[in-house]
Amino acid sequence: MTDVANHSDRRPGLIRLWIGPLLARPVALLGVAILLVVVLFAVAAPLIAPYDPSAYDALIRLSPPNPQHWFGTDQFGRDTLSRVIYSARMALLVGVGVVVFALVTGVPVGVFSALFPRLGQLLMRAIDVLMAFPSLLLALGLIVILGPSVANSIIAIGAGFLTTTARIVYGLALRLKMETYVEAARSMGSRTGWLVLKHVLPNLISPLLVQASFVFAFAQLGAASLDFLGVGAPPNIPSWGNMLAEARNFITRAPWLLFFPGMMIVLTAFALNLVGDALRDRLDPRLRSAFGAER
């Protein structure tokens, strides 16, 4: 516990609060390292990739891994390693997109519902109704209405996490509302907007960081499923899901096509889950229960 006399002490910064627990845990550090590699792939793809990811070469179709093409080539003779590296861009885009969508829509719904109970009850019932649709069915339905594209994949997957995010934020905000300091601020005449900015949102940052890492992980799996079913990113855009959808047709002739993109999805999602777990364990125990035991 902090020393009461040390009033002047600044609150520990976000970086110290969050980087610390990651450094202390070797597996979480491994997760961070994997994520850094994925980010590096995405940012520096043209510098790292040995070939143009869409350059056709009929002479080397479906060649197994060799010194020139470490991960082999696909049915058009395109270099698999280069395509795997370029696909990191799509993975990051979809992950960040889904997280932003879930936060931008879920947080206001949750906070608003907690602060205005009457309307909040109604909003939460609406969230319950949305939750009656299994996530992939909801995503597929939205894709049918909006049409398949990268942006619409993000919205379709994000809609499923709008509900969970709103629920978590609602639970946390209700609890924060009851805290003595929030009540004190209110009794001193603070406006609702000020209360939210000063007392509610700052306390939501940590749990939302945890939620964001899990959403990011599940978004990878969701996007891969949509791509695999042929309703996600257009087939000409390299993405790990699209690569697997194509590899499926050459499963016995070219099994390496299946291995590398799939491995990248697994590693990315696994790394995000590791980081999310480490961050959750660092979380204030009173807030931790909002995530449930299984997440």
Binding site: V129, A132, I265
Partner: protein, 315 residues
């Protein structure tokens, strides 16, 4: 107890009505005229108007909604454009595969997830526990279809032990032996869900083992294994029961992909095919059936939870 069940039933009914509005709206939100989807682009305006009138699509939207609800309550989910059959019979044709797949998968999930989670919890902190927990997290990070494709590659293509795709009905030639077609798909589908139940069993057993009644049981000198089975496990199982609804939803989402990978004639693949064939009334019908099932499962889970844990009543 009964008043709670009644209250829950009411809430479920309200959710269902709201969900039905969304499902009804779905078909009207799809860009393009549903009549042209049905008749093709070559239809003349007269034909379009005639069909619009027969289908009642020229009525006000609210009237259309109540007509649709009325038909649904009479078991009429509409007509499939692709199959040219009533949707209910299309769904019935695909139900056998999906019901069998879900049942076998749930058996795997419980057989693997609960005991392994129990072992991990009793060996809390050991290498075994860390290894099993790590493995569970890895399984939860693997795309289902990727596991499925590897199952096909290894057990069907390389070893030739099991069929790679399709499922002939149990009533066809082969009978009960046809279940072997579902072995690889059910294991694929079970992997992420068993991982989830494993983590849940472990976490809730650890929670319960810190409670006072467990300490009392230990202090009374009850044998350690009996404390685990009778005092910790029984209470921890409640959390697993409450996760059943969540697992059911996850199962449906993953079944859509798994049935596509293994080319199974199930309801999940029906959804995907209907999307690709623009057979929108079928999507509407299937989603309605699934949502009703999901709400019923959740209702049963909630009510049985009260039944199993009398403490809930006190709160």
């Amino acid at each position: 107890m009964w008043s709670y069940a009644l209250k829950r039933a009411g809430a479920t009914a309200i959710t269902l009505v709201a969900a039905s509005v969304i499902i009804f709206a779905f078909i009207h939100l799809i860009p393009g005229d549903p009549i042209y989807v049905r008749l093709g682009d070559t239809a003349t305006p007269d034909q379009v108007e005639a069909v619009r009138h027969t289908l009642g699509l020229d009525q006000p939207i609210l009237v259309q909604y109540f007509q649709w609800v009325g038909a649904v309550l009479h078991g009429d989910l509409g007509h499939s454009i692709f199959y040219d059959e009533p949707i209910l019979s299309v769904i019935a044709d695909h139900a056998e595969t999906s019901v069998l797949l879900a049942t076998i998968t749930m058996i795997w999930v419980l057989l693997i997830g609960v005991p392994v989670g129990m072992i991990a919890a009793t060996r809390h902190g050991s290498w075994l526990d860390q290894g099993l927990s790590g493995l569970a997290m890895l399984m939860a990070s693997v795309p289902t279809f990727w596991v499925g494709l590897y199952m096909i590659l290894i057990f069907a293509a390389w070893l030739g032990w099991l069929p790679s795709s399709g499922f002939p009905s149990l009533f066809d030639r082969g009978g009960i032996a046809n279940l072997r077609y579902l072995l690889l798909p059910s294991l694929t589908l079970a992997a992420p869900n068993a991982a989830l139940i494993l983590r849940l069993t472990r976490a809730s057993m650890l929670d319960v083992s810190r409670e006072d009644h467990v300490r009392t049981a230990r202090a009374k000198g009850i044998r350690p294994w009996r404390v685990v089975t009778h005092h910790i496990f029984r209470n921890a199982l409640l959390a697993v029961v409450s996760a059943f609804g969540f697992t059911f939803a996850a199962l449906i989402s993953e079944a859509v992909v798994t049935e596509t990978v293994f080319a199974l004639p199930g309801i999940g693949r029906l959804v995907v095919q209907s999307i690709l064939q623009r057979d929108y009334p079928v999507i509407q019908g299937v989603v309605l059936v699934i949502v009703v099932l999901y709400l019923v499962v959740n209702f049963l889970v909630d009510v049985s939870y009260r039944f199993l844990d009398p403490r809930v009543e006190l709160q």
